[in-house]
Amino acid sequence: MTAQIDRLIADLGADLRPVRRLSAPILRAAGWLLLVATLAIVLAYFANLPAIAHRLRFVPDMWLAVLGSTLTTVLAAIAAFELSFPDRKPVWALLPLPGLALWVAATGMGCLRAWVIPDTHAADMAEATHCFRFIVLLSIPLSIAMILMIRRACPLRPNLTAATGGLAVAAAAATLLNFFHPYDAGATDMVVHILAIGLVIGANRVLGGRLLTPKTFARRL
């Protein structure tokens, strides 16, 4: 062992403080999902719940889209927290794929219905802009909470972890958007949703990835 490594070990020993062991990733993911659920309850207070229930009853693909985005939220959150632990394999990043597939397929179906069936009220540009703002703004607090929680662990793949967390955040925001989305997703609306979700994932990947990358190595070595 070189003198440099020996000195580093002594330094690390001197720096040692008792730490509280982190709970299992799935429990940590549940903590973040609880935050999303709390936000959902608050938003539900302002939403027209009977109208939403009516839509859900009569438009089956909306059910599937909500189920898909909710499933994506849950699975991506679990994947992100699993990836934040050093000994977890990167294959965890594939976990949200089934939810994502269902979400994309059901949203596409809704978009197709709005295109084929006459007199369907699809979102116009103003409504699509509202969707974009809603998804992006709601993503900010959810992303901050996600990154803060993930930072307490030690992701060895910060970019992948942050992007997976970003997917959970974007899916959660898109799910909560349904409280204020009383119309079908037209082509424009769908493109705007995709752009907003892409922006949230990209921002998380770039900013979150940087925040999750420890700087201590560069300083120390």
Binding site: I9, R17, P18, L221
Partner: protein
């Protein structure tokens, strides 16, 4: 074989207990653990393809990561697996960093050879040594492609474009031949080549 795996399991159990103690702030157990597992870290790092001269740096990065990630270790899981995952990842990061660095930093021996510092007295020595019979002999002994490259690019100071036209070879091939020729000459003259 069975005895070796039993010993490995015992060692893993010991390390796991030491890490659990370190999580509560036991400095002695922690330092013993880090010293004990350093050879394994080095083996894992070198198995990933990190050269021996860089291995110490990567081992230090792994030790720092262990320190930063110690709250994520669950004593119900294998410590060796946790440690190896960190060591492998840090080795891959180091190799990628090295790769990026190599791509950013252009290795251009021709620039050094063709544009010597006029204030550097050693260049005059270089001229003398180029005139030296032993240098001429060494150049003559080079394979055809390498000799051609060094004569045109270094001795006649032709540009890469002109040399490529003159020889009918690509600029890449000329650079490779020049690089190999310089390497051979450096090895022969003990690195004392300009």
């Amino acid at each position: 074989m069975a005895a070796a795996s039993q010993r490995a399991a015992e060692l893993d159990g010991e390390w796991s207990a030491m890490m659990a103690a370190a999580q509560t702030g036991d400095r002695i157990a922690y330092e013993r653990l880090l010293r004990g597992c350093t050879p394994l870290i080095r083996r894992v790092v070198m198995r990933q393809g990190v050269y021996a001269d860089r291995a110490d740096d990567v081992v230090q990065e792994v030790l720092l990561t262990i320190h930063r990630a110690r709250q994520t270790y669950d004593p119900a899981r294998s410590f060796s697996a946790w440690l190896c995952a960190i060591a492998q990842r840090r080795a891959i990061d180091a190799l990628r960093r090295r790769g990026r660095q190599d791509r950013r930093e252009v290795f251009a021996p021709l620039d050094y050879e063709n544009h010597p510092d006029p204030s550097d007295a050693r260049q005059h020595g270089m001229t003398e040594s180029m005139q030296d019979a032993s240098m001429r002999g060494a150049i003559d002994e080079l394979p055809d492609g390498q000799r051609e490259a060094i004569e045109m690019l270094a001795l006649q100071q032709m540009s890469l474009d002109d040399a490529a036209i003159a020889t009918g070879k690509t600029k890449g091939a000329l650079k490779v031949n020049m690089h190999r020729a310089l390497k051979t000459l450096r090895a022969r003259f003990g690195g004392d080549l300009g």
